[in-house]
């Protein structure tokens, strides 16, 4: 297993990703990343860096290496395949006569 990026190595703090929820009912949104020696300090640093202007009511921090990301080079095979597949959208279908509530 590779070394966690969230663990401090030598004189460098680990990397954390920050997610901020701006108000109740909305989801947490990725706001950026930061360095911190541990989770408790990562939360505090996130508070200082990303909620200075009243931006949030909740913060999540995640060790950067805990996030598995899709490969930017496989954009075609990953994300372009749904193109042209109109039948995956509700608007593709015509409403049958006599259906009142759809």
């Amino acid at each position: 297993m590779s070394e966690s990026t969230a663990e401090p190595t030598g004189n460098t703090w680990g990397l954390w990703e920050v997610f901020v929820r701006s108000s109740r009912g909305l989801s947490h949104v990725h706001a950026g990343s930061l360095h911190a020696p541990d989770a408790a300090m990562a939360l505090r640093n996130a508070r200082d860096l990303y909620t200075r202007r009243n931006e949030g009511v909740s913060i999540w921090v995640v060790p950067a290496d805990a996030i598995a990301a899709s490969d930017p080079d496989s954009k075609g095979s990953f994300f372009e395949s749904p193109q042209g597949k109109d039948y995956r959208h509700a608007t593709y279908y015509t409403k049958s006569e006599g259906v009142k509530h759809l």
């Binding site: 990725h30 706001a31 911190a36 300090m41 200082d48 990303y50 202007r53 009243n54």
Partner: protein
């Protein structure tokens, strides 16, 4: 800005009391401190101002970028408290034409012996651990003070304290987290934390000394006698120190005297740096 590029987070200014609001109340006569309250506001304003100046020195010099911002935030919180207290204090010391002195008049055009801050606030930053030690003492003290001041019979003092206490609560947490980490980190960080606490602790006693002014204000319900904060301060700081396996430093108290304008050798240098621009170019703005 398109929706796709819009910030992930929303920005709102909030509606807490600002120094500008106090200035307006002072100008229109809505807020008028008694002579005692003005002197008291000057004390608390000077404490916060000198600490803000000290902490500001860390900007670009902190161990990590994130901590740089954390200390900068705390410095700005303190500066905000200073602005509010000094603006209010200015209403009690009018100019010759009867207008109130402004926060800038008080910050930039008083001399060393006219500052009323206690000596802890002007102590040098030292290394990071020494700054954390000073923050630890200051924020636990200010929290107990502001928490009680929210009940002040003086509405403006109570309003300033109500805003400040939330900010200082966070300063407490910040300093406590660092006391725990430095004490529990390496041998070197623990040694420095102990040294930092020993350096700052002689100035703790001065924070809790009553004098005639605080006694009169406490009687009137406008302020609290500093001595009454000590029990909670001792208990809460001891909790953190115990968890960090540190002891309350056993050091003799410094003579103090900041409230009467007697300062350590450091304040003059702080003021020289803080005041030089305003004195060289009075009324300058940018």
């Amino acid at each position: 800005m398109s929706e796709a590029n819009a910030s992930a987070t929303r920005i709102t200014p909030g509606n807490a009391l600002r120094p500008e609001d106090i200035a307006l109340e002072v100008r229109t006569g809505l807020a008028k401190p008694t002579e005692d309250v003005a002197e008291y506001a000057l004390r608390l304003g000077d404490d916060a101002l000198i600490l803000a100046q000290r902490l500001g020195h860390w900007i670009s010099r902190a161990p990590e970028l994130e901590e740089d911002i954390a200390l900068g935030n705390i410095a700005l919180d303190q500066l905000g408290h200073a602005r509010s207290f000094l603006t209010y204090a200015g209403a009690g010391v009018p100019n010759q034409d009867g207008t109130a002195k402004t926060e800038d008049d008080l910050a930039y055009f008083r001399r060393e012996h006219e500052f009323r801050s206690v000596q802890l606030f002007e102590q040098p930053n030292g290394d990071f651990a020494a700054t954390i030690a000073r923050q630890f003492v200051v924020s636990y003290y200010q929290y107990e003070l502001y928490r009680r001041l929210t009940e002040s019979t003086d509405a403006t003092l109570a309003a300033i304290a109500a805003k400040a206490v939330k900010e200082v609560d966070y300063h407490r947490d910040h300093s406590a987290q660092w006391v725990l980490r430095l004490a529990g980190g390496t041998d070197e960080s623990r040694k420095r934390m102990i040294h930092g606490l020993r350096t700052m602790w002689p100035y703790v006693a001065e924070l809790f000394r009553d004098d005639e002014l605080t006694e009169r204000l406490a009687q009137a319900g406008a302020a609290v006698a500093p001595s009454t904060l000590k029990e909670d301060f001792d208990r809460l700081t001891a909790e953190v120190l115990n968890e960090a396996e540190l002891e309350v430093p056993d050091v003799p108290a410094a003579p103090g005297g900041g409230r009467e304008g007697k300062h350590s050798e450091y304040l003059g240098y702080i003021l020289a740096e803080m005041q030089v621009l305003a004195r060289e170019h009075p009324g300058a703005s940018w």
